[in-house]
Symmetry: C3
Subunit: 222 residues, 3 copies
């Protein structure tokens, strides 16, 4: 399960190092509680999210979904809400991509303000086209709002797997780092931005991403 630690003004949300970090409802609840704690904290603060093993997150928990098909719309709404609150957060968020970042995991990474990716291993990938899974409107809007037209097109319509250097060249991540320096690099980017965690920053993001947030907040058809 995720664990929240604090390093001065930087909160670090450690995703499970022994897990793919799929969005099982219990994991979502733990992430939501961690974000609630960051939101409730006063004063300058930033947030880094990081895993410890081969995965950052591989997105939707398809096993759980198959066993709970009657709850799929509510589940998707909950995942969309995670994307929306991250995208609209006044707190600067930095995803330290220590490993595979796939599908809805990749979308959550894009909802962060910044991404730093491990250079030697792991892929950023939207494999939906190969899995016969279309994107929900809100997901599509989120990806398009954060990437250049050419990168969004390639990532969404070919399922390309981007290694760290390729993700940097495509503008998917903002920096790369060696595996053993990844967390430090992400914290170093987050710390000087801790003072930006002001209510106006949420207002600015609500206006900048108005259409995307509306799409993410529209309930999934039942």
């Amino acid at each position: 399960m995720p664990k929240l630690e604090r390093d001065g003004e930087v909160f670090v949300l450690h995703l499970d190092p022994d897990d793919e970090n799929r969005f099982h409802p219990d994991r979502l609840a733990a992430v939501e509680a961690a974000l609630d704690e960051v939101d409730a904290a006063a004063g300058p603060r930033a947030l880094v999210t990081v895993g410890g093993g081969k995965f950052w997150s591989t997105g939707l928990d398809l096993d759980w979904l198959l066993s709970n098909a009657d709850r799929s719309a509510a589940y998707l709404d909950r995942v969309h809400a995670l994307f929306a609150r991250t995208l609209a957060s006044p707190v600067v968020t930095v995803a330290a991509l220590n490993g595979h970042t796939f599908a809805a995991g990749a979308m959550w990474a894009l909802a962060h303000d910044l991404r730093v990716m491990r250079l030697d291993r792991g892929f950023f990938c939207l494999p939906e086209v190969d899995l016969d899974l279309p994107f929900q409107s809100g997901m599509s809007a989120l990806i398009r709002a954060r990437l250049t037209p050419a990168t969004a097109h390639e990532a969404m319509t070919t399922g390309r797997r981007y290694g760290g250097g390729q993700a940097l060249a495509a503008g998917i991540v903002d920096a790369v780092a060696q595996a053993d320096q990844l967390l430090a690099a992400a914290v170093e980017r987050a710390r000087p931005l801790a003072a930006k965690a002001r209510p106006v920053r949420a207002q600015i993001k609500e206006t900048l991403y108005a259409e995307t947030l509306t799409a993410l907040r529209t309930p999934t058809a039942r």
Copy 2:
């Protein structure tokens, strides 16, 4: 007239090597029939479009339009439909730009998934501003959806002629090649993507380009 050939999983639509490949209704009918054949084919497949002479396509057939002014709205709808079906196609499309790619020809190239351009000769150009021709809403939406803001602005408001290297730098094309290697380079890009020709890919593109496709499918005012 255009001629469709097949090279394994890659269809190659040869545009007329002795012609500017303007969109005369007869040419549109032949292109539509070729696209129908590609759509109807089963299994993995991709499409490369290429000319053979100095031109890839110079767009609307203004001579025909002047003689058929009463049919201009239906004609524009048909051209917009070509753009829309190319943009939304599940089959990966690669335009091999062997020569001048102008105006609505340039827009059709942008509707393809990828563009490879000849390095030594030929221009990509939207000359509308110099011809006193405004862009239809759907055309404007298409260009903006496929280029960065700065490139769309420059291309549409100055009529700049981009050679191969300049088009690559501006993000208009994805690769350049020597003239005698152009078709091979395009086929090489298309072949590994043949397996992506799945119905879900059309769904993904419908969502990604929803506003653009709606604009292209809105009938021209009569």
Copy 3:
């Protein structure tokens, strides 16, 4: 006060060299009159805007606004109208950023067709997040329409100060120049584009920026 001069086909609007060039209503009136003169001129023409001291423009006149709170909505509408007419202008406009370009000044610069920035001193900056000032919808739409998603996000949500080289790398400006060559560089870019000042260019920009212009032209809530 601003002063309009003419150098062949290029008008040069000299902003006040001894001033921050905030948008006091009197300054707005002088800029509007200069733009009226450029609009009314016949034939090929382009426009360069430049200051002479440490500032290009630092945007809204907050001192005046504090003393005239009852007129703030009309004032914002007037500033938005300046952005809209610049963005939609058929005349090619080049901002020669000789010094600090902040807040609504930075937005006005983005409404120009092109920006050339002094290399050694001065910053482009949207400091709103640090001043607890949200962006109006039209302002947000303008910035997003002119920059890549990553640059708009960083500029608007972190208040980063971009020097000339950084602004070039981020795609905020199109070129940089030494201070003593800045105006000449801007004029050199503008002159060959003077012939583009045709009514159709305004039509093309109205379609390209339809949503942004609608947002800028929507009256501020009173």
